[in-house]
């Protein structure tokens, strides 16, 4: 797909959160029965509990890190808390899922108050099993810096969904 039609680019995930990368590992995120594909809208009530995350690859000895952030915190028009870290799981063996990894930062349910937020899942390949230290706080996390700090390189997969407060009108005037 031409770079400028990639949903991650059009939705500004590549730009605001990530640098351009090539997908190489499958990443499947499922909330209850709903698969997350780029740009779907989910309600807070649908994402209260952590999703099922299945990753691809072929070698069980290769480990991956999963990051979930909200780049539009607290509001997309003034994201001064960008990025808000919702979940951080490391040491996920290839072909398995997040439940097989180390939860460094536990899952926090998205609860956007203002505007329509993007919630981004990013998968990185680790060089080996490694100790990752949780940041002191969730806000103002920087995925790029985090990847550099732990030598994770460019992402191998990413997906995002949109979410607004439960009673939101979708930005439409009612």
């Amino acid at each position: 797909m031409p770079r400028d039609r990639d949903p991650l680019v059009v939705g500004r995930v590549i730009g605001d959160v990530l640098d351009p990368f090539t997908r190489s590992i499958s990443l499947r995120v499922t909330y209850a029965t709903r698969d997350v594909s780029n740009g779907v809208e989910l309600k807070p009530s649908q994402v209260v509990n952590q999703p099922r995350v299945d990753i691809g690859g072929d070698d069980l000895r290769t480990f991956y890190t999963l990051v979930m952030v909200d780049p539009d915190a607290p509001s997309p028009s003034d994201p001064n808390l960008r990025e808000y870290l919702h979940w951080l799981v490391t040491d996920i063996p290839a072909t398995t899922g997040a439940s097989f990894g180390q939860e460094v930062v536990c899952y926090e349910s998205p609860r956007p108050t203002v505007g329509i937020h993007r919630f981004v899942f990013v998968l990185f390949r680790q060089l080996g099993r490694q100790t990752v230290y949780a940041p002191g706080w969730r806000q103002n996390f920087n995925t790029r810096d985090f990847a550099e700090l732990y030598n994770l390189g460019l992402p191998v997969a990413a997906v995002y969904f949109n979410c607004q407060r439960e009673s939101g009108s979708g930005g439409r005037r009612t």
């Binding site: 594909s37 780029n38 740009g39």
Partner: protein
């Protein structure tokens, strides 16, 4: 909201002190977006002051040099906006002016709009009069609304692209599975090879 307000003040204070050739409206590279993004950063050029016959518009006479000149509809980049939104801009600007200045202006609003003199001139103080506040707020609101609209369009387009990708992918998979199914059907329909049937062989000595 308070932080936004503080931000505007701080930003404009900083802007004032730095060199601003790039943001000078008379710089040929000055673009509309620059104008819209920096309402406070324009110094009134000399010709503006001299051509300013409509001094009644000014809230206070510009001291040399005036701290800022805020003008919603003046400057080179704005002409096309005037033509596009004549209905919107006229009544708003007239509300901003002093009542006295309305009278000479009402007969020829476009001339006034197009004139190089600002329709309102403001001193940049920490505590600003209500006219300036509403101008800032309006401007800020316009920019925020634009950004919000852009985000909305991006959101919609991204989802559409994703769906198109999924459709293409699913159609491919569908075609592949159908081919596979066809092949299996053909394979099942041919007579079984001999080796698959039961046979009597001798393995035991008895």
């Amino acid at each position: 909201m308070e932080e936004v307000w503080k931000e505007i003040n701080l930003a404009s204070l900083h802007d004032n002190s730095s060199s601003r050739e790039g943001l000078n409206p008379h710089n040929p590279h000055f673009i509309l977006q620059d104008f819209l993004a920096r309402p406070f950063s324009k110094d009134p050029p000399a010709n503006r002051v001299s051509a300013n016959g409509d001094t009644t518009f000014l809230v206070s006479p510009p001291p040399p040099p005036p701290a800022t000149l805020l003008s919603l509809n003046s400057g080179p980049g704005f002409d096309f906006l005037d033509n596009s939104y004549p209905l919107r801009s006229k009544p708003r600007l007239q509300m901003q002016n002093n009542p006295i200045s309305d009278l000479p202006n009402m007969n020829c609003p476009f001339e006034a709009l197009a004139s190089p003199s600002g329709l309102a001139c403001f001193d940049k103080k920490r505590f600003q009069d209500p006219d300036n506040n509403s101008g800032d707020r309006r401007h800020k609101r316009m920019i925020k609304n634009r950004e919000s609209a852009a985000r909305s369009r991006a959101r919609k387009q991204a989802y559409t692209n994703e769906l198109e990708l999924e459709v293409a992918h699913l159609m491919e998979e569908n075609a592949r599975l159908k081919r596979q199914q066809e092949q299996l059907r053909v394979a099942a329909a041919t007579p079984l090879s001999g080796k698959r049937t039961l046979q009597r062989t001798s393995t035991a000595p008895f």
